[in-house]
């Protein structure tokens, strides 16, 4: 099921924000398929990203995000489909296409025995930077990632957040046309995470196209101009945040947490006209409902009447979590 709500990326039409000029397409992924033995990890994924646009791939672990960006970055050859970066076809040996990308892998991809500066300079040279350009870009990136004063220290002495920032810095050094970030904030403390997100926001302002994978809904909402929801290797939907939320029909989410018979509680509430869907999420019933403020009282009565002893009731307005739930029938963290 692909519920793409736009035939063309909004940024391709309008750039970042209203009134901007038409932006050029930086990335085109068409019908990507990747199989590992009997498992189809990615199944017909297509999307495009324009210059200055931040595009998010949102999905739970194992959804196919990393496999998708591996094909985009030329690390995996698709079984079907194609990738073009800045108009150049991407393949395993596509040197020209790879000049346009900067990859920030999910795992730290830096040399722990080299200093921050040496790491940046090494990868910078491999990107073709030399002499004063290399020195200048290294200094700029060290400043950007907040490691200028620790530039000479071996990266093995850095905290987890500092290593993550250096990991991102390496991807930025050559000012790629397309920056690919694969869950760059995994395992990062809140302060470092915020710093990383601010840096990424600044990049798209500078005109860099960003492909960002995450399973954190808040990050996708904060950073991404457009978001594609991916699950089981397929794009379930794609659009701006508001466009995606529209897919839910404006429904709200009610979470009922408690003890007692969860099944009986679910059976009682799912008969009610306002309730569109009921999902059991560990010890919680997640209800998709229309107009939660008016429906909440009868729902609580029905649940408690069925023997569910409620400890917590939470109402939330639609968000990407609701969209994911609506599209896939499961919670994003599953």
């Amino acid at each position: 099921m692909n519920l793409s709500v736009t035939g063309e990326p909004e940024a391709l039409r309008s750039g970042r924000g209203e009134g901007a000029n038409v932006a050029e397409k930086v990335l085109g992924a068409q019908g990507l398929v990747k199989r590992f033995g009997p498992v189809t990890a990615v199944d017909g994924v297509s999307f495009e990203i324009a210059a200055g646009e931040t595009f998010g791939l949102l999905g739970p672990n194992g959804a196919g995000k990393t496999t998708t960006i591996s094909m985009v970055a030329g690390l995996l050859v698709p079984d079907a489909g194609s990738v073009t970066v800045a108009g150049v076809p991407m393949g395993g040996s596509s040197v020209e296409a790879k000049r346009h990308i900067g990859l920030v892998p999910q795992d730290l991809a830096i040399y722990p025995d080299l200093s921050a500066r040496a790491n940046l300079e090494y990868f910078g040279r491999l990107q073709g930077l030399r002499g004063s350009t290399l020195r200048q870009r290294t200094a700029e990136v060290l400043e950007l990632i907040g490691l200028a004063d620790r530039a000479k220290e071996p990266s093995k002495k850095f905290s987890g957040g500092m290593k993550r920032r250096l990991n991102i810095g390496v991807g930025l050094l050559h000012r790629p046309t397309l920056l690919i970030l694969d869950e760059p904030t995994v395992g990062v403390d809140p302060q470092s995470r915020n710093s990383i997100l601010e840096s990424i926001e600044a990049l798209s302002v500078e005109g860099m196209a960003v492909l960002y994978t995450t399973h954190y809904m808040e990050e996708a909402e904060r950073l991404c101009d457009r978001i594609a929801i991916i699950d089981d290797g397929r794009l379930q939907a794609e659009g701006t945040r508001d466009q995606l939320i529209e897919l839910t029909g404006g429904v709200d989410t009610i979470r009922l947490t408690g003890s007692g018979s969860l099944d009986a509680g679910a059976a009682a509430v799912e008969q009610m006209p306002a309730v569109r869907r009921v999902v059991r999420d560990h010890g919680t019933l997640v209800l998709t409902v229309s107009n939660a403020p008016t429906a909440i009282a009868p729902i609580v009565n029905a649940a408690t009447g069925a023997g569910l002893s409620l400890a917590d009731v939470e109402i939330s307005r639609p968000d990407l979590e609701s969209v994911f739930l609506h599209l896939t029938g499961k919670a994003l963290r599953d």
């Binding site: 690390l75 040996s93 790879k98 892998p105 795992d107 730290l108 991809a109 040279r125 990107q127």
Partner: protein, 390 residues
């Protein structure tokens, strides 16, 4: 090309900063060669200490009288003193330390020998006597063998009508006049390595496998730590990454071999490996063979730990069978297999250069090393793990 050199240069700098590469490449093999040379040196420098031999010979026994004379003759070259003593005192002299060896020839020795009765000569060695005892025993043994042969000749003469009274004289004259067989140390035209050279060659060959592992096996490590993924996303072809690791291994191997062989030649006595050009060719072939083997290991191993363990096992096995610790002589299929060992081929090749051979004389060892390289590269290419490596 510049990106290849950037990778090789950075890798080499990292390996040289990382002391473990230096340890495996130079320090440990040099230390082992030094220790093993000390052991060999102690064998080479063994000396026979002065020793007194107390000999009791029956009076009037012409044949028995030959024995002290033989010992005295041998004593000229061995610092051996022969002292005549009564038979009943010989053991006492050995016990109280006056003599290192006691020899008692029994009464009737000559007559028994002529009669073919097989008389027994008693040799007593002092406690703690080392090589000297073995030497004296060997001399006595040899003299008795000669006397036995002489008396048998004399017995044969008797059957031909020689008077019995002349038989001991014949036996004795045979003992005295027969020119001894002598031997001298020869030198073959090739494959000549002293024990020291053999150890240097074997150890250098064995540790080379550890050293080159720092290059190619780093591919496995980089795959594990994620940097390989980043490298492959850079504007470089995948083969460039592999070539950079191979070149790094090769350069490390050459540096290690160069330092080891040069330092060994300078530091240790009796290490002369011959023509530098021929040795250089051999070293290049050996490093290529070792590097190619690491590709097989890198293709098969799932983790860096697995790769390092496998490489260590292979290095030690090839080194042991190649003569890094001791020379191994096998025949049959095992012997043929031994010849396919690159360390064996390297040691044999150095034997040729040490014996005065040049590049043109390296035929078989060079072919073995080239064949080994080709087989390993082919195996690494065909093994299914190749695609998973990158």
């Amino acid at each position: 090309m510049p990106r290849l050199l950037v990778m090789v240069g950075t890798d080499l700098l990292r390996h040289l900063r990382n002391l473990s590469a230096l340890m495996y490449a130079v320090v440990v093999p040099l230390a082992l060669i030094y220790v093993m040379n000390l052991l060999i040196g102690s064998v080479d420098e063994l000396e026979i200490n002065p020793v007194t031999v107390a000999v009791a010979v029956p009076e009037g026994d012409e044949l028995a009288a030959v024995l002290p004379q033989v010992l005295e003759a041998a004593g000229e070259g061995l610092d051996l003193t022969v002292r005549a003593a009564p038979a009943e005192e010989v053991v006492g002299l050995v016990d109280d330390g006056s003599a290192g060896v006691g020899v008692v020839v029994p009464e009737g020795f000559g007559a028994d020998l002529v009669a073919g009765a097989g008389p027994q000569v008693q040799v007593t060695l002092a406690d703690g006597l080392g090589l000297e005892g073995t030497v004296v025993t060997s001399i006595v043994d040899g003299a008795l063998a000669d006397l036995t042969a002489g008396t048998r000749t004399a017995a044969a003469a008797a059957t031909l009508g020689v008077p019995p009274t002349e038989l001991p004289g014949i036996a004795r004259s045979l003992q005295e006049t027969t020119a001894p067989v002598t031997w001298r140390e020869g030198e073959a035209a090739d494959e000549q390595l002293t024990l020291s050279e053999n150890i240097v060659a074997g150890q250098a060959g064995m540790f080379l496998f550890f050293t080159v592992g720092f290059g190619v096996l780093a591919l496995v490590e980089e795959r594990e730590q994620g940097t390989l993924r980043r490298l492959l996303s850079m504007p470089v072809r995948p083969w460039t990454v592999v070539a950079a690791k191979a070149l790094g291994s090769f350069v490390l191997g050459l540096l290690s071999m160069g330092v080891l062989l040069t330092v060994s030649s300078l530091l240790f006595d009796g290490v002369e490996l011959g023509s530098p050009v021929a040795v250089g060719v051999l070293v290049v072939l050996m490093v290529a063979a070792a590097t190619s083997l690491t590709f097989v290991v890198a293709t098969v191993a799932r983790t860096a730990e697995q790769a390092n363990i496998a490489q260590s096992i292979i290095a030690i096995a090839l080194g042991m069978f190649g003569g890094a610790f001791f020379q191994l002589n096998l025949s049959g299929p095992l012997g043929a297999l031994l010849l396919a060992n690159p360390v064996t081929a390297f040691v044999r090749g150095l034997g040729i250069t040490a014996g005065g051979g040049g590049v043109g004389d390296l035929g078989v060892p060079a072919l073995v090393l080239l064949g080994f390289t080709a087989v390993c590269l082919l195996a690494a290419w065909l093994l299914p793990g190749r695609k998973e490596l990158l």
